[in-house]
């Protein structure tokens, strides 16, 4: 029972990442009607915002200490990051918290990337077949990931989490169970909480602002909203920017859990599409629910006990669920009728 509970918890952070990516995919699909295969790449770009910021923060100043000579008789090099040299303790803290701080960098960067992507390329594909949308965004994804590969190399780049969150929480003990049975890394907890906050923010935004109302109306019935004479184009561009920001932030915060490399986005994209389909194409709550559901299912399937019964199930569980859902309930868990059905 404890083991199941632990796996359940383990699924939450991954589920959070799936949910955040799927949320953006659904927003873009629901508002723009575009199937964006480059959406996972936005997650990856976010992750690399964190990598970049850390690189900048750890740029070092080298001071030669002629008093203390090394064994070779040369002056000792004292390396201190510039930020520490300039800001002292605050600088040290900044380096420590580089990952969460990267969110501040990621928001403007992802907004620019998202808007540029929509204005520069995707808007030309609104009226073209879905197959062509898939193809062009697939090509774009390749381009973006290859650019990242060129500058950051092909190997994963580990990102440390802030020291304060490096440990693990003994959740079992906190819940009055035996200590040291259910131990859960702090950062995963942070990630789960973070994803809930972002998801909440997006929903609140859609629920309580006029902008959000128009977007929701547009998702329900694009033509009518266009007919009312609302300039939907600008809002859609903004929506794309928001989706990019959500994906980017999700990527930033995920870096301590999984060292990012250039094809991170593609790996998550395939899964996120499956999530969207399971949740129901065009349904935001569906995307979120399916994200967590699949994250948890995947986690449960990787238990040794489960694997002993069905070998390899952990490798395919998500796809299997998708296949079953598509066949028995093509609309997905919460999808509306008639979305993308021929």
């Amino acid at each position: 029972m404890d083991a199941i509970f632990l796996q359940f918890l383990n699924g939450l952070d991954k589920g959070g990442a799936y949910a955040l990516i799927a949320l953006g995919l659904t927003l873009v699909f629901g508002t723009l009607g575009v199937v964006n295969f480059a959406h996972g790449t936005l997650f990856m770009l976010g992750a690399f915002c964190a990598v970049t910021l850390r690189k900048l923060l750890t740029l070092e100043q080298v001071v030669l200490d002629t008093e203390n000579l090394t064994a070779w008789g040369t002056a000792t090099e004292i390396r201190t990051p510039y930020v520490e040299a300039w800001f002292g303790d605050f600088g040290t803290m900044l380096v420590d918290y580089s990952v969460p701080a990267s969110i501040l960098l990621a928001i403007p960067v992802m907004l620019v990337v998202g808007v540029a992507m929509e204005r520069g390329l995707i808007k030309h594909f609104y009226r073209r077949p879905h197959a062509e949308q898939i193809l062009v965004t697939f090509g774009l994804a390749i381009v973006l990931q290859e650019i990242v590969k060129h500058y950051f190399g092909a190997n994963p780049i580990p990102q440390p989490m802030p020291a304060a969150f490096a440990g693990a929480a003994d959740i079992g003990a906190a819940l009055g169970m035996e200590p040291n049975v259910i131990v859960y890394p702090w950062w995963r907890l942070v990630y789960f909480g973070f994803s809930i906050v972002v998801i909440g923010a997006v929903f609140a935004f859609l629920q309580f602002t006029t902008f959000g109302m128009v977007v929701r109306a547009g998702m329900a019935d694009r033509e009518t909203v266009g007919l009312i004479g609302i300039d939907i184009d600008k809002r859609f561009t903004a929506m794309f920017g928001i989706a990019a920001i959500v994906a980017g932030m999700a990527g930033v915060m995920y870096t301590p859990l999984l060292p990012p490399d250039y094809h991170l986005g593609m790996d998550f994209l395939v899964l996120s599409f499956v999530v969207v389909v399971v949740g129901g194409m065009g349904s935001l709550p569906g995307a979120v629910a399916a994200g967590f559901l699949l994250g948890i299912l995947q986690s449960l399937a990787s238990m040794t006990e489960v694997k002993a019964i069905i070998p390899g199930i952990d490798q395919i569980i998500i796809y299997l669920v998708a296949v079953v859902i598509l066949l028995v309930r093509p609309r997905g868990l919460m999808g509306r009728r008639g979305v993308m059905e021929s």
């Binding site: 390749i142 381009v143 060129h150 093509p330 021929s342």
Partner: protein, 388 residues
């Protein structure tokens, strides 16, 4: 007229030219520096893959993102045939095609219950499952990360029965113990299959069956209300297309007897799509051209490295040279995929019909010029011609 081989004169000519072009590759590829066997084998194999994919995507409009699974299945099947039965490529290929066909039948039967993006995602899901399983539970069959290879102590029952093979070196696949399947003979072996594959595709394109598939792509709804049970048609196209992929996978194993799971990854499926689109989806020759172009430029671009670039741009002043090398190095060598991605984005955006559409536009342009009243306006015509 009603014989099996009744072909229109245009088709016969296309077929003859195509065969000649393929068979004469070792000659006409010389000036391009591409006339070596390894590359030409790739031309033939990926040509088969692309025309097979085109039968599905080009004719029915169903975009499969999981075709690499059939390629991989074909490779594994062929290598296992080598290991257990014989180094003769013929049984290996037959087995590869059958296995890939069955695999396609199973996946297609399920996936084709949905269309559009759902179909794409279903095929993607199946391919990813195959890939993940090949790396994990199926390791006894696929040898996981090491990949499936030949070994000295493989049984090879047929070869053993005829006393073929040596005990000191790994065998090479060979046609009845006579022709080894590497080098130029290997190329011709693949080329013959490409020509056969092309011939069958040509027949499909010209047949009522092919027109049904096109009609399904054009308006599936109308097909149903016209009394067509469309699913057997799309399933057949899917299976045929999977068998082509299996044949290509088998040929890969014939020319280089090992099989790895990376052949099944979805990026590999993506590459198949790229080739078909680049050349011209739905056209007869386009996909082959696309496959050739991608494999040719992959070969050229990946061989570039910084040194080559420095030599190439040595005539420039130093500062500029450095900059030029820095920029171009992004697109060559390791960065070849960047070039590929860019070209792909440009093609889908501006030339969705691929190279064949480009070719047609150019031809139209010249024809319009001839039809026009002489040499009055050559330049202004060119600007207006492509619109159709």
């Amino acid at each position: 007229m009603n014989s099996i081989f009744s072909m229109s004169r245009k088709d016969v000519i296309t077929f003859l030219i195509f065969s000649a072009v393929v068979l004469l590759m070792p000659i006409w590829l010389q000036p391009f520096g591409a006339a070596y066997p390894d590359l030409m084998q790739k031309f033939a194999i990926f040509g088969i893959l692309a025309i097979g994919f085109n039968i599905l995507f080009g004719l029915t409009g169903y975009l499969s993102f999981g075709h690499a699974a059939f390629l991989g299945a074909g490779s594994y099947a062929a290598v296992w045939t080598f290991k257990l039965f014989s180094m003769n490529p013929i049984p290996a290929l037959i087995f590869a095609v059958i296995i890939a066909g069955l695999f396609a039948l199973a996946i297609g039967y399920v996936s084709l219950r949905r269309s559009g993006i759902y179909f794409s995602i279903l095929t993607l899901a199946f391919a990813q499952m195959s890939y993940n399983l090949a790396y994990s539970v199926l390791t006894p069959v696929t040898y996981g990360e090491t990949g499936l290879q030949l070994a000295l102590d493989d049984p090879r029952i047929a070869d053993a029965a005829f006393g073929g093979g040596s005990d000191v070196a790994l065998p090479v696949s060979n046609l009845f113990g006579m022709v080894n399947m590497n080098g130029i003979p290997g190329f011709y072996f693949c080329a013959i299959f490409l020509i056969i594959g092309f011939f069958i595709t040509q027949r499909i394109f010209a047949s009522p069956f092919g027109m049904m598939l096109r009609a399904i792509k054009s308006n599936q709804n109308r097909m149903s209300y016209t009394g067509f049970n469309t699913r057997p048609y799309t399933l057949t196209a899917f299976v045929i297309s999977g068998m082509y992929a299996g044949l290509a996978g088998g040929l890969m194993a014939v020319t280089d007897p090992l099989a790895g799971a990376e052949r099944m990854q979805w990026t590999a499926s993506g590459e198949i799509v790229l080739m078909t689109i680049l050349g011209g989806v739905g056209t007869l020759i386009g996909p082959v051209v696309g496959a050739w172009l991608i494999k040719y430029f992959e070969n050229i671009f990946s061989s570039f490295n910084e040194n080559v670039l420095h030599n190439l741009f040595a005539f420039l002043p130093e500062g500029i040279e450095k900059f030029v090398v820095e920029v171009t190095s992004m697109f060559v060598g390791e960065g070849w995929h960047l070039t590929l991605g860019l070209v792909f984005v440009l093609v889908v955006t501006f030339l969705p019909g691929g190279m064949m559409e480009g070719y047609r536009r150019i031809v139209d342009m010249f024809q319009k010029k001839d039809d026009g009243d002489g040499k009055a306006s050559t330049k202004s015509d060119a600007a207006t011609a492509p619109a159709e």
